[in-house]
């Protein structure tokens, strides 16, 4: 359609209110989240394939590759439903950006494909005609017995891309990585990195070091163990190691530095009988316990332990060695249990608002055993992302989502993409009323480009029109609005994390 550069507000208007009369349907605010999942409920439908999509604005020609995203999608089948954000069969989205034909000077082509991942869980439930298995927050009666956690694995949280090997994995937190064909999006089965780790949890936030090594961990609530994976750039498991530690009952993310692994272990304790239904009701916050930091030597897995004032958290941005200290950047969730209990797909209605999330800095001094936690003042943020090749190296550029004060109180989530740029003022782009922003990733302009040069790329769901839009920003000028955007002829289920794979 158009490749002219339209003013941002015109684009937004075109995507938003003006479509409503045409489409003839409009979700109400309390149903904003639910409306994104409804099309994917019920019996399995054909995968989505948009074909070439009209671009609003000028798509950057150098930005070629695929943005993969994943998240819970189907949450109702055969009259059985699950209403927690994290409970739903994983759906993989692939936004492809390809160069137009040079001979015709055609503009870049943007297209989307999307498919529910055929896990054993999805396959069994499809055959039964109803949801069978309990989820993170929903216990289903008469659930079938389990042979292992992968019977429940919806592969719905994050992705690990190993482009050199043309491998893609969809990740959950409590089970194995699901291998997926990066082109067809078809599930290929669970990955076993070694006989001893077959079927063991492979968490959803692996860290790819600058040399291509993949570090990850797995845990089982109540087990007192963290399983560490050290995977060579070839994809071969180099080492597996079990750390014994208290307070490892919910560990969503971690960080690496040149020399260390960093675990932030919050005092959220699991008191349940595992394996029997949803684990969420069996978590308790221990007011008396600290935030425990484990600094683990990558060479020999020796552990140095630090304590800090307690906070919950989901996501770390990065960690690095600096002048005899270890620097850690993360997003604190002061009342994570409240957050977990209320991340439902229906509007919060009478739910009291959770305390604001906070951007946080930790400084560890291994030589003295000192640890310091500081909150520089940025609040209501989540989903931190850094330069993908700078895990463990100093970073000054971070993308985040932020919830603006103007967002409808009936709608959870975020409406603004924000870039932190060292000591400079953060830049923001607020999508506006009716929009829910999903995680935005930072894509460097080239492998050698200075940090912060390149693009910020992400999706947002417009609930009044029930459509999803992908936007690309100049990473240096997010506050100028998108360089270009693409609106799909359908809405996508509000998802979790994504990874960009350059062409």
């Amino acid at each position: 359609m158009t490749h002219t550069h339209l003013p941002r507000r015109a684009v937004l208007a075109a995507l938003g209110a003006s479509l409503l009369p045409v489409l003839g349907h409009s979700a109400e605010a309390p149903d904003a989240w639910r409306s994104s999942y409804t099309p994917y409920n019920g019996p399995l439908k054909a995968p989505l394939a948009s074909g070439p999509l009209p671009v609003q604005g000028r798509w950057p020609e150098a930005l070629q590759g695929t943005l993969y995203r994943v998240g819970p999608a189907r949450r109702e089948l055969g009259g059985v439903a699950m209403d927690h954000w994290f409970d739903g069969d994983g759906m993989l989205q692939a936004f492809r950006f390809e160069q137009g034909q040079a001979s015709t000077q055609a503009p870049p082509r943007v297209s989307h494909r999307g498919a529910l991942l055929a896990t054993p869980k999805l396959t069994a439930e499809e055959a039964a005609g109803r949801l069978l298995y309990s989820g993170f927050a929903t216990t289903l009666p008469h659930a079938p017995p389990l042979s292992g956690p992968d019977d429940l694995n919806p592969a719905n949280i994050n992705l690990l891309a190993l482009p050199a090997r043309k491998e893609l994995f969809a990740l959950w937190e409590a089970g194995s990585a699901l291998a997926v064909d990066p082109v067809t999006l078809q599930a290929q089965g669970f990955k076993a990195w070694s006989p001893e780790t077959r079927g063991a949890p492979f968490s959803a936030h692996p860290r790819v070091a600058p040399d291509g090594s993949v570090w990850n961990f797995g845990y089982v609530p109540g087990s007192g163990k963290l399983l560490v994976y050290d995977i060579a750039p070839t994809g071969q498991l180099r080492r597996q190691h079990v750390l014994t530690t208290a307070q490892a009952d919910m560990v969503h993310d971690f960080a690496i530095t040149d020399r260390h692994l960093v675990f932030l272990l919050m005092p959220l304790q699991f008191h349940g009988q595992p394996g029997m239904g949803s684990p969420l009701p069996h978590y308790q916050w221990n007011d008396q316990a600290p935030l425990v930091v484990l600094l683990v030597d990558k060479a020999d897995f020796k552990v140095q332990r630090f304590e800090l004032p307690a906070t919950g958290l989901f996501h770390l941005a990065n960690a690095w060695e600096e002048g005899g200290t270890v620097q850690v950047r993360f997003v604190a969730q002061p009342d994570i249990l409240h957050a977990l209990r209320h991340l439902k797909v229906d509007g919060p209605r009478s739910t009291p608002a959770a305390p604001a999330t906070r951007w946080a800095h930790i400084t560890l001094t291994p030589a003295t055993g000192q640890a310091r936690l500081a909150y520089p003042g940025l609040a209501h943020v989540e989903f931190p992302r850094i330069h993908p090749a700078r895990n463990g190296l100093p970073t000054r550029f971070t993308t985040l989502l932020e919830r603006s004060a103007g967002m409808d109180a009936q709608v959870q989530g975020f409406d603004t993409v924000l870039t932190l740029r060292g000591d400079q003022t953060p830049q923001r782009h607020r999508y506006g009323a009716g929009w829910i922003a999903e995680e935005h990733v930072y894509v460097p302009a080239s492998p050698g480009a200075a940090e912060g040069r390149g693009w910020v790329l992400g999706t947002a769901y417009h609930w009044p029109s029930e459509r999803t839009t992908l936007s690309v920003f100049d990473a240096q000028a997010v506050n100028a609005g998108p360089l270009a955007s693409v609106t799909l002829p359908y809405g996508l289920p509000l998802g979790l994390h994504g990874q960009f794979v350059p062409a």
Binding site: W85, S147, E173, A174, P195, Q240, H252, Q273, G275
Partner: protein, 173 residues
Amino acid sequence: MCFLHFVANVSRFRGGLGTVRVDLGVAQPDHPPKAPRMKELFLSLAALAALTAHAADLRIEVTVPAQKQGAVLAALFDRSEGFPRGKPLQVATAQPGDGMAVVQFVGLPEGDYAVSVFLDENSNMKLDANVFGVPTELYGFSRNARSALGPPPFADAAFRVGADAPPQVIELK
């Protein structure tokens, strides 16, 4: 951001970390069978004679997924004590063919029994498990008893063996 932990029932599987050993009771007996001494042989023969009138044979049909390799190992128990990790009453093994392995226990006194089976894919005579103690080989129990993520109690797997007892069909999962 999500943190799902549907958790293997570690305590009930008792997976060893270093050795990665999980024992559903189907492992080898602690000691290899010894040649019976005369006195034991006499006693066994006497016992056998006394029981002949009520002895029964048990046929276990184990379904094995077609793409899987390895022998089926089965362990027979006659009481809840030690089920399924203690020393079994008898063990038996069979090679699958056409998706099924048939294991026989013969000359059993009438009574209640339970059977555990697993597919020994790597021929190490034990049910392998990952570092968290979750089995990584297929297993099953008589009456296809199954609990959430650990072995079922004896009562759930127990069945009557007597004259004309039908075969037990166990599906490996």
